[in-house]
Amino acid sequence: MKNSKITKKEIRRILDLAKITVQPEELTKLTEDLGDIIVEIDKIKNLSEDFLVGNVIFQQVNNQFSLTSKKMTYSLERIKENFPVTEGGDPVIPPIKGDK
């Protein structure tokens, strides 16, 4: 088996947490597959905090020809329309279908 980012022992522990049992051959394949997937998700783990902070600042798009700026906003009316129905300040819980 190729070097994996995760061991069979660790997979067995996770399987126990997830309440799943697998056959020995299934465990080997699972360990290999998860090893490959963990290499991918490690890209997130390895992103530096500086990168995250740097990207909070919006990356300027190359729209120097643009004359208009459009921002999607909701009117107060529209927000109110979608607010839960309340009674005495508390949201009204709708009756469960079929209950009398």
């Binding site: 799943i20 991918e40 490690d42 997130i44 909070v56 798009v61 020809f65 921002k71 999607m72």
Partner: protein, 459 residues
Amino acid sequence: MKKLTIADTLNSPAEQIKNKVKSAINNSKGLNIFLETYGVKPSKTKKGCLNNVPFSLKDNILLEGKISSCGSRMLEDFVSPYSAFVVEKLLAAGALPVGRTNMDEFAMGSSTENSAFGPTKNPLNSEYVPGGSSGGAAASVAVGSCAFALGSDTGGSVRQPAAFCDLYGFKPTYGVFSRRGLVSFCSSFDQIGIIANNVDDIITVSSVMNDKDPFDLTSYADRDLQDIEKINYDNVDLRGKIVGIMSGFDPIPVSDDIQSRYLELIEKMSDLGAEMVNISPPFLENSVPLYQILSTAEASSNLSRYDGIKYGLRKEGKTIDSMRRSTRSFGFGEEVKRRIILGTYVTASEYSEQYYKKALKIRGLMRKNYEAFFSTINYILLPTTPTPPFRLGEKINDPVSMYFSDVFTAIANILGTPAITMPCGESSDGLPIGIQLMGGIGSDLDLLKFAGKVAGELK
């Protein structure tokens, strides 16, 4: 294959539609599209704007009294106790459900090969996959058995199969369609979506399905969408609209055919007056690993309810614990187990800070970034998939490569924004290619009108 549209259906006698649907279903049996058909029973009285319009349901959307198995042995005999909110709306408007369609188990997959009931084949070429996880839904429209199909889109599961079957596929802003009656996979990404033969049909169906549902507090009424009538595309102007495009996809490998169709579409849209601007969508290359962490984390929690006690399958065991383990081990397929384990791993106490919590932080930053993007541009144009349809079995043993199919679609689910895929020619092998337009939060109707105008100009 004669495709069906809503206009065809409304303008034809009910008996004729019934025969068309029956013959399309019978002729496509070898493709394994439907897990169950309901029989078409047209109504003699007019109910609403979708009177006797046939539609199909993905196997994870509930219809009262009918089985919803989610393509899994776990729910093989599960009978829905109620109908999904959007299904109730469609039935009230007169639409006719023709059957439930095959899917990747619990919507986990990009090829419809992960179904416990066998793979679905692509109606355009049966050696290829129809995409997934709503592969059966897309195929049901492609063979002409219905005018539209309901699917679910958690990472691209409506748009990718629509692109692979040469159709239109729409995922709305998170909350436009209630999720009540959609079996949960990843609750913060899941959205019901529509697959159809044209944008007008998607608009009509969206206007029927949208409403605030008191049982899903993330849903909301969009009055613009609800009140829409026939669109006059003469009044829709591409001029003045700013569309963000990518001048290159590096480091994402994209097939040459798709790059060519993408560039051609950019040129056409530019000729029609849209302003095309180069952008570099932030975090795009990290969207798949981010999606994998967040979606599997939620899936491992959502699927913990399948323990043999309340829902679906139960395998006997000497103790409650052994019963639960044998039920889950037998009931779930390989891909579902893989994702539950990954989700359990990334949320385990010793790893959650590095994976799950960090991914949540990045999703928050991405939303801020893209909100800023959409305050300046109207839409982003992206390929729907990095490759045209692939062969059955080609990627089934390579999960990383399969997950990569979602590289351009998962971003709309991470952000909660609307996106629509449109057919855009074919590859050198004659396989369909889809291109995707994405808009800002709440811009659903605007995006659909724009896509409809572009589609009309391309014909």
